[in-house]
Amino acid sequence: MSAIAAAGRSRRRAELPVPAILIAASVTGFTVTALATGQSAQLSADGVIAVLERVVALGLVALGQTFVILARSIDLSVANLVSVGAVMASWLMQGDPAMMLPAVAAVLAISAVVGAINGLLVTRFEINPLIATLGVGLVLQGLLSASFQNFAGAVPESFQVLAYGQVGPVPYPVIGLFVLAGCAAFVLRSTRFGAHLYATGGNPDGARLAGIRTHRVTLAAHVICSLAAGLTGLYLASRLRSGAPWVGRDGIYDLESIAVVVIGGTILAGGRGGVWGTLAGVILFGALDAAFTMIGIDAFVKQVLRGGIVIAAVAAYAYRTKGHVA
């Protein structure tokens, strides 16, 4: 796929309001199912908030993944980084409220370092991002299992407020997710970094010729992605009361975050898409999951449907792509 073909493709494709379509699909599917199965209780504010609450973790990771995919890269180490964040947070805090802030700072610092490593491997060493981040993820997993075998330490009560606190009926994590999405959208749309990110992903050669330091932009995207993963680890540590080495892998955050970002309209070739699409994709997943639970579909069939939805949701607008796709 040469850069010229990609640029041409983005010019010719009409702008599809993917986020709006996904939200519409989610709302319709959820409502219809709730009414059809006689569980209209789910249509209340509480029901909707419950759906949103389930997708906070995936949503946070996906926000970060959006930046990386916009830069025409990818990050497969997020699942293990989430585990690292959760474990380090609870181990450093050891139930002591005074250690909360240092622990949070340490987790974010480690995440940033991992992101920088990913970024350097991809930019300076030109290793394919799939392999580079896969390798880093494996190293993280190994180091983590070597040091921590079970839930390590504990999170103090005051930190649990992060996951369990509410403003009225709305839990903090849901508010946090939307606030962060808003910040991300602002960065992407209204800052120079955002513009540079789109340029780097959409047409790296052109961006470089225009004077953009594409390596720096990609590195920054990777750091942002890893920070998001670290933040998710902190959230999970707060919710599960401590962190275990398997929380990241259990959630399949790596592949699902990529799926959700692409469903949301951010194309893998980089340069197009945004965070609202990602958020809409996450909400679609959550709403459909809730609908399947209402119908009473068993876990195995749900997995088949989930796979089908990933393909169908992307096929729904991808077929309009001119040119070849690998």
């Binding site: 419950a50 649990q160 639970t293």
Partner: protein, 377 residues
């Protein structure tokens, strides 16, 4: 250069941290002795229905939970991600069918192996108002504790398979425990292998409480009896890996007297590793899966099968119903018998009409739709 420094720093931090990291100890000598004692104790209750038996006479008064039937039961399942859980859940559903008259609805939430999801599931089930009692099989002990504590405030909660770090549930149903499982297998090996004999220990993965207890118990016994452990390897529960590891170990040490395993799902793979090399099969420990029992019977090898009975899934439903009827239940811990299948009792359990990963200790022989519901012939 910079990368090397960064990776190195991260590695040093992690490893240094690891030294001080152990939070929960999996090697508790008191619990070890307690479980060992229970292995030879006599259980109260009907001898032909081990899922209704219990050790000790401690009961919990449940009069305050008494309600008129039929009841709406809710079940938060950690998942059906392995055959043990599949057999258990099938058995539980059969138990629910047995009590059709008493149960108005049986709502199940499958957490697909995720703590995060199970916490949300419990919250959602309670919010729906369709639960007179809540049965929980927690995905992990610590993470589910806050959710269970919240649930206790609304309905009676019965926990089984794994415990939680709170005393609020009405009762916690479990067989004797992980130490007992490890002891059964290790003691058989120690009794049948010469002193200084070589044992390979195969474990699924580190950090899972029940499995850690099994190994801790076995290690203690091997140390006591002077059995030489030539390797402790992790198989990820994968048959191909298990077989490869056994083959490589044989290359490394030449001969093995026994293979100790912390679960039986891949025992047959370990046995086949010997067969494929044309060697005699030594002692290999397993569990109550049919493929292991059948292999044991056909080959005439020496083996033992400790169990972690799936009939506890029946007990959970029975306990919930008793609680709602105001009848006393064993509690706060309901310890079920944990039989070990030996060469003498093998014939009772082996059944080649059942699928390979069917767990013989399910207590399902007399239940509705047996054997079709369990995919038997």
């Amino acid at each position: 250069m910079r990368i090397g420094v960064m990776i190195g720093t991260a590695a040093v931090l992690a490893v240094a941290a690891g030294g001080a990291a152990q939070a929960q100890s999996f090697d508790d000598p008191k619990e070890f002795e307690a479980q060992r004692a229970l292995m030879s104790a006599k259980a109260e209750g009907p001898a032909d229905k081990p899922w209704e038996q219990h050790y000790g006479s401690q009961m919990v008064d449940t009069a305050k939970y008494k309600k008129p039937g039929p009841y709406k039961l809710c079940f938060s399942n950690a998942g059906v991600g392995n055959p043990w859980r599949v057999v258990g859940f099938t058995t539980m559903q059969a138990e629910v069918d047995l009590h059709k008259a008493d149960i108005a609805s049986f709502t199940v939430a499958d957490a697909e192996g995720k703590d995060d999801k199970q916490i949300s599931d419990i919250k959602a089930m309670l919010a729906s108002g369709k639960c007179d009692a809540l049965i929980v099989s927690p995905n992990t002990t610590a993470a589910l504790t806050p959710a269970v504590e919240e649930a206790c405030k609304q309905v009676p909660v019965i926990v089984f398979d794994r415990g939680v770090l709170t005393n609020c549930p009405v009762t916690v149903v479990k067989p004797i425990g992980g130490y007992a499982f490890g002891i059964a297998a290790a003691e058989y090996i120690a009794a049948n292998v010469p002193k200084g004999g070589k044992v390979l220990a195969l474990r699924i993965l580190p950090g899972v409480d029940v499995l850690e207890n099994r190994w801790a118990a076995a290690k203690r016994i091997f140390d006591e009896k002077g059995i030489q452990v030539v390797g402790v390897e992790f198989t990820d529960g994968d048959r191909a890996k298990t077989k490869s590891i056994v083959e490589d170990t044989l290359t490394r040490v030449g001969k093995l007297d026994a293979v100790w395993m912390d679960a039986g799902a891949t025992s047959v793979a370990a046995i086949e590793a010997f067969e494929d090399q044309g060697m005699d099969v030594p002692i290999v420990t397993g569990e109550d899966q049919q493929d292991f029992l059948q292999k044991w019977k056909q080959s005439g090898m020496k083996a033992v099968a400790p169990t972690y009975p799936t009939y506890q899934w029946r007990t959970a439903v029975i306990a919930a119903l008793r609680v709602l009827k105001g009848e006393k239940v064993p509690g706060p811990a309901w310890s079920l018998p944990q039989p070990t299948i030996t060469a003498e009792t093998l014939d009772k359990y082996v059944n080649d009409k059942m699928p390979p990963l069917h767990y013989a200790m399910c207590g399902c022989e007399g239940m509705p739709d047996y054997p079709q519901r369990w995919i038997g012939k």
